[in-house]
């Protein structure tokens, strides 16, 4: 099964307006499978969420994290078991903090990297110089409330460029929720999991293996057929509430690689099979492919879903 996750949420423990209890209730109402608590620079909500979920015997899963809110950028941290101090953050070497967090088993990502920053909102934009792109795990490619062209599109392109260079970074997204905000038709993160499975483990597996989907609704699956030498792409409905799609909307697949972008239209709203040689027309090198699903045309406004990168096709 696919699990729909909301990975970036704040409560009254930092600057949100929902208490931990209200956050759980809100996520349950919105039919989310798992949510993270990622308050700014505090983990005080963790034990509250844990206690409340135990009391309620709720089936919703929780992920414990924090948004490290530093002078030079926000670092989203998931599966965080203990608070690590961030104040010695080095503008020129953020990897020091990334490594410390990863040593403790946390998943480390860059939140809203191109958000507006100094001089009006110090720290909101990620200004630090990263030299080791293996030192963190994911990039928040869509921070839903942020402007599409100025903030989210550059984040998506940054992630794509790094992935095409071979860095094993996953894509995530989030609401950056600070209240009862409308989540209809917004991007959510999806991972594979099993009913009743350990969400922290499933999230870790997904992020470490670049198996995250970022989508407003449907999931784009890909499957290599070695006998036919084709790649089959299938659209799978996740029933995410609020996804806007009409029967007349055409689905379009793009596959970006180092050598260019292949664009194909789905003949129906279900599946599309492409011969491998059409995916790599100009090169003997079979580089990473980034599959994306659009509605009607390939304008960023019509981007429906980003699927896990296809790393090797032999």
């Amino acid at each position: 099964m696919y699990k729909r996750l909301e990975l970036h949420n704040h409560t009254t423990e930092s600057d949100g307006t929902l208490t931990p209890s209200q956050l759980i209730q809100f996520m349950e109402e919105k039919l989310v499978d798992g949510f993270a608590i990622t308050d700014h620079n505090t983990i005080s909500g963790h034990s509250k969420i844990k206690g409340l979920l135990e009391q309620k015997k709720s089936s919703i899963s929780s992920i414990y994290g924090m948004e490290y809110t530093t002078y030079y950028g926000h670092i989203l941290c998931l599966n965080l078991k203990e608070y690590l101090s961030w104040e010695s953050i080095d503008y020129h070497r953020p990897e020091r903090l990334f490594h410390s967090l990863k040593e403790k088993g946390a998943l480390v990502g860059v939140a809203h990297p191109f958000s507006y920053g100094h001089p009006f909102a110090r720290g909101c934009r990620f200004d630090m110089t990263i030299t080791d792109f293996n030192s963190f795990d994911f990039i928040e490619i869509f921070n839903n409330p942020e402007p599409l062209h100025q903030v989210n599109e550059p984040a998506l392109l940054w992630w794509e460029d790094l992935v095409l260079k071979g860095f094993p970074l996953s894509a995530t997204c989030g609401m950056d929720l600070h209240g009862r905000w409308d989540m209809n038709n917004q991007y959510a993160t999806f991972i594979e999991g099993v009913n009743g499975g350990n969400i922290e483990k499933e999230l870790e597996d997904a992020i470490r293996h670049q198996k995250t989907w970022v989508s407003r609704g449907p999931i784009l699956e890909s499957q290599y057929n070695s006998q036919k030498q084709t790649m089959l792409f299938t659209i799978c409905d996740t029933k995410k509430p609020g996804f806007l799609h009409s029967d007349s909307d055409r689905y379009i697949l793009t596959l970006r690689s180092m050598t260019g972008t292949v664009v194909k239209e789905f003949p129906d709203c279900q599946s599309l099979e492409i011969p491998i040689n059409e995916l790599y027309p100009d090169s003997n090198t079979r580089s990473v492919l980034i599959p994306k699903l659009y509605q009607n045309n390939t304008a960023i406004e019509n981007l429906v879903a980003v699927a896990p990168v296809i790393v090797t096709v032999c």
């Binding site: 620079n41 505090t42 983990i43 005080s44 104040e87 001089p119 110090r122």
Partner: protein, 163 residues
């Protein structure tokens, strides 16, 4: 509650960094209140010179081509931003991100402030760090008070205030 430590200082415009205070408690307490206040959170008046200076610091950023009106609006929204972080015996016990110019970090048996982790008892070494993200104006004053006690009823139900 007994006042254990009180201090204060003045911040200059543009300062980014931390100021930490460490208090060694020689008794065991069951309640503690850390009160932090600061002033000059926003520009009271925006002079032409301030506008020019801000315009200058926008060079190379997404605000570079903002109109005068947009710049003024943005400046009215600018704020001095200070986080407070507390550790006890080197363990994190709370952080406040909410930009309240008067804030309390209260730890007691009945109540713990938002952002803080409940503690069975207060003892040992308490370190309060002011993480200063932004200071708009020279001469920004701040005060910090640390009080502790053993009578739970001294903490009011809404926290913060104590008798």
């Amino acid at each position: 509650m007994e006042l254990i430590y009180e201090t204060g200082g003045i911040l200059n415009e543009g300062f980014v960094g931390q100021i930490s205070y460490t208090v060694c408690l020689d008794k065991v307490y069951d309640a503690m209140d850390i009160e932090f206040t600061f002033d000059k959170q926003h520009y009271q008046t925006i002079t032409e010179e301030m506008g020019k200076k801000t315009r200058e610091s926008c060079r190379g950023t997404e605000y570079e081509h903002a109109s005068e009106e947009e710049l003024m609006d943005a400046m009215r929204g600018m704020k001095t931003e200070i986080h407070t972080i507390v550790t006890m015996n080197d363990t994190f016990i709370g952080g406040v991100h909410k930009q309240l110019t008067t804030r309390h970090m209260v730890y007691s048996k009945d109540f713990t402030s938002d952002g803080c982790i409940p503690q069975e008892r207060i003892s040992g070494v308490v370190k309060v760090t002011l993480a200063v993200f932004n200071v708009l104006l020279d001469g920004t004053n701040y005060r910090l008070k640390l009080s502790a006690g053993n009578e739970e009823k001294q903490i009011s139900p809404d926290g913060g205030a104590y008798v």
